[in-house]
Amino acid sequence: MNKINFSNESVKQFIVDNFLFGDADKLAVDTHLFEKGIIDSTGVLELVAFIEENFNVTVSDDELVQDNFSSLIAIEKFLQSKNNQAS
């Protein structure tokens, strides 16, 4: 089990609702969203749209790479770095 906490519960809930249709068991903080087939290329745009709407950030085309959204932890890191940029 990975011990790193994932603080953005709403991102997790969004992925569970939207891509796993309620199957919360299939999503750990380090589950690879692409390798496990949870999110596809259109799906990542949905996720980014959700993040922009709820976290007041803007994601550029350059940042729109798999690495930034590959797992809940990656998303958390990405959001933190965006916050640091902003502050």
């Binding site: 609702d17 249709f21 996720l47 709407e53």
Partner: protein, 660 residues
């Protein structure tokens, strides 16, 4: 429900001919086949065609107050009337019926126009003060029920449907060029206007007042306004779900109040499945349901409907909408709808209400309004995607999200670029008030290419978007973009088309009353404070409503992709042997009505003959042209119908020569 009509003298007392009132009630007899009544004095004539639902034996109209100074004719239902009645009894009011109509009258005595704030329902009514000669007319908040009027030679003529006004009007009916321009832009008129010259519609949420000492005035008493306040900001999703659930349950509870049985439409979509499941679980285990199936598979929802019927075990009846029937009844539905329509979708609902009536039912619940209030339509999601794109209009990746929304049309890789360009319109102006609808409305403008040169000239440089801009709320620019889209959809499509052309008119054509639980104003007002991001979570539409029904409905229903309700156009009108489109749209006919360009219509017909399928725009044009031609034939190319000799009012109150 019912039909109301009447005539008011605006300057001086003058005889009002009761036979004019008879012509009007007769023209509205489909709205109220059970009985008729009228009140006449030297200033006013009020008439009513009644469909008896509450207080079957005692509720005959017009109804008066204790001293017979106030008189009312009423179309609709006040669902919270028992509670209001109780409080009025405590204030000393005396009632001679158990109807909701009488409750409005006494509440008006107490509070004048402020009575409207207390009414929970769907209504249009007129109250006449025989002493002060004050005339008061009002229409419900979102326009579930209609009210039209015309000013003619110091008279106000009013009615539930325009046809009753046309019956007694001295001038010949004509199309309103501006009215047509609006319909071919927004699919309906903007509030206030109709397809007929000089016939006005009292906008939803407005009242009209007049007395000989004060000029006629039209004022709003309710308007839709969105704001996320701090209270809702701190709420969690379960809070919203619980509160919405309580509201919907209560809305349904009071909408089951009737002295006749209430049935329910069941389409197999989320909205009607949800209300039906609520009724079944909490209120009536012996529920009667009604649904439509389609001959054409791509429009049919039987699979989901059958799932729900089986699950809820309701006594269900269905109508099978064949393409032949859609063509066959199209002329009739235009007669009842009184407006050009660019869709065929009202037709199956006409067939459905016919079935309801044949089965002995007068009242049904429907799921209308949920998409507008809870955020269900694709246009809202499209707005979110385009807003996402507008953050970086040069992005190559962002527009690809459109594919998620419209996978079918993006399937063809060669077309993908063109389609993307189509949706890019206005992307650099995310603050444009019409950002959400600009793609759709701009596309509709092409329909106006079919207008005749003569009509184009009459329309001149009128711009429907400017008019719409002028009626937007003052703080509109500050609203969230999803709120803006909801607002625009509600005041145009919902009030003018969904509740009217496809709603009230199609039901009342067969003397059936629709009740719409999702449009209880408590729900509308509550949802107007819920942050947009919870309504559509990502691109998951009606997110909160799905949660409300989660435990009541199977996942196949709550998770199913939403299909827009539609009916086939080309196959109903072109490939229909019993529908003679060549005669209906002959050059002679087109020329007579004068609305469309003869050659363009001819080319469209040739194209329809030649091609297997038609584009969306061509289909809309076809329905729009056909319905306009039918409208012309019903109302502008026709003599008034004669009423039978033995047609008389069941109740006739004659106060002429008493009130001068």
């Amino acid at each position: 429900m019912c039909g109301i009509s009447g005539i008011l003298n605006l300057k001086n007392p003058a005889p009002i001919n009761p036979s004019h009132l008879k012509q009007m009630t007769y023209a509205l007899s489909h709205r109220g086949p059970d009985e008729t009544g009228a009140y006449v004095d030297d200033w006013v004539g009020l008439a009513q065609s009644r469909l008896s639902i509450i207080d079957l034996s005692g509720g005959s109209q017009p109804i008066h107050n204790e001293d017979k100074t106030l008189w009312i004719v009423f179309n609709g239902e006040i669902f919270n009337y028992p509670e209001i009645r109780e409080s009025l009894l405590n204030l000393g009011h005396k009632f001679y019926t158990t109807s909701d109509t009488e409750v409005i009258l006494h509440l008006f005595e107490e509070k004048k126009e402020k009575c409207l704030d207390d009414l929970n329902g769907q209504f249009a009514f007129v109250i006449w003060n025989a002493v002060t000669k004050e005339f008061f007319a009002a229409r419900d908040r979102v326009g579930i029920l209609p009210f039209y009027y015309k000013l003619e030679k110091d008279k106000l003529i009013f009615a539930s449907e325009a046809k009753a006004i046309l019956e007694v009007s001295e001038s010949e009916p004509e199309f309103d060029p501006i009215g047509l321009d609006q319909i071919f832009t927004f699919w309906t008129n903007l509030p206030g206007r109709t397809a007929f010259k000089e016939i006005n519609d009292l906008p939803p949420g407005h009242y009209l007042e007049f007395s000989p000492t004060r000029p006629l005035k039209i004022k709003p008493y309710w308007s839709l306004s969105y704001s996320e306040n701090l209270v809702t900001e701190n709420k969690t999703i379960p809070d919203f779900v619980n509160e919405i659930s309580v509201l919907i349950k209560d809305s349904i509870r009071i909408r089951l109040r009737a002295d006749v049985p209430v049935g329910s439409y069941l389409s197999g979509g989320l909205d009607s499945s949800g209300t039906t499941a609520f009724v079944k679980k909490y209120f009536n285990n012996d529920l009667r349901t009604f649904g439509i199936t389609f001959q054409e598979e791509s429009f049919d929802e039987s699979e989901f409907q059958n799932l729900m019927i089986k699950l809820l075990n309701t006594n269900h009846s269905e109508v099978h909408a064949t393409n032949e029937d859609i063509g066959k009844y199209f002329s009739d539905i235009v007669y009842f709808g009184e407006k050009p329509i660019i869709r065929a979708a009202p037709a199956p609902l006409y067939l459905l209400s016919k079935k309801v009536r044949e089965e002995g039912y007068k009242v049904v619940l429907t799921g209308e309004g949920a998409d507008e209030i809870f955020g269900g339509y694709n246009i809202f999601k499209e707005t979110k995607v385009r807003k996402f794109w507008s953050v970086d209009p040069a992005s190559q990746l962002r527009p690809k999200l459109l594919q998620k929304l419209y996978p079918y049309i993006f399937k063809d890789k060669r077309l993908a670029q063109t389609l993307q360009a189509f949706f890019k319109l206005g992307i650099n102006e995310p603050n444009n008030p019409f950002f959400s609808h600009i793609v759709r409305w701009n596309n509709n403008l092409r329909l106006k290419n079919f207008f005749s040169e003569d009509l184009k000239q009459q329309i001149g440089d009128y711009n429907p978007f400017d008019e719409l801009k002028n009626i937007l709320p003052k703080d509109f620019d500050n609203w969230n973009y999803v709120y803006k889209a909801q607002y625009l959809e509600i005041i145009t499509f919902m009030s003018g088309y969904l509740l009217s052309s496809q709603g009230d008119r199609m039901a009342m054509a067969n003397s059936v009353e629709l009740r719409v639980p999702y449009l209880d104003h408590r729900i509308i007002e509550y949802m107007a404070t819920v942050p947009a991001r919870f309504k559509i979570r990502g691109l998951n539409e009606k997110y909160l409503l799905k949660k409300v029904f989660k435990d009541l409905l199977p996942a196949q229903i709550t998770n199913r992709p939403k299909n827009p309700y539609r009916a086939p156009i080309k196959s109903s009108f072109i490939d229909n042997k019993s529908f003679d489109i060549k005669t209906i749209l002959s050059q002679e006919e087109i020329k007579k009505a004068g609305v469309f360009d003869i050659f363009k219509v001819d080319l469209l017909l040739k194209k329809a003959d030649r091609n297997q399928t038609l584009s969306e725009l061509d289909n809309m044009a076809l329905a729009g042209i056909l319905s306009t031609q039918f409208l012309y034939n019903h109302f502008m190319n026709n003599n008034n119908f004669s009423i039978p000799d033995n047609y008389n009012f069941n109740t006739f109150i004659d106060k002429r020569n008493q009130t001068k």
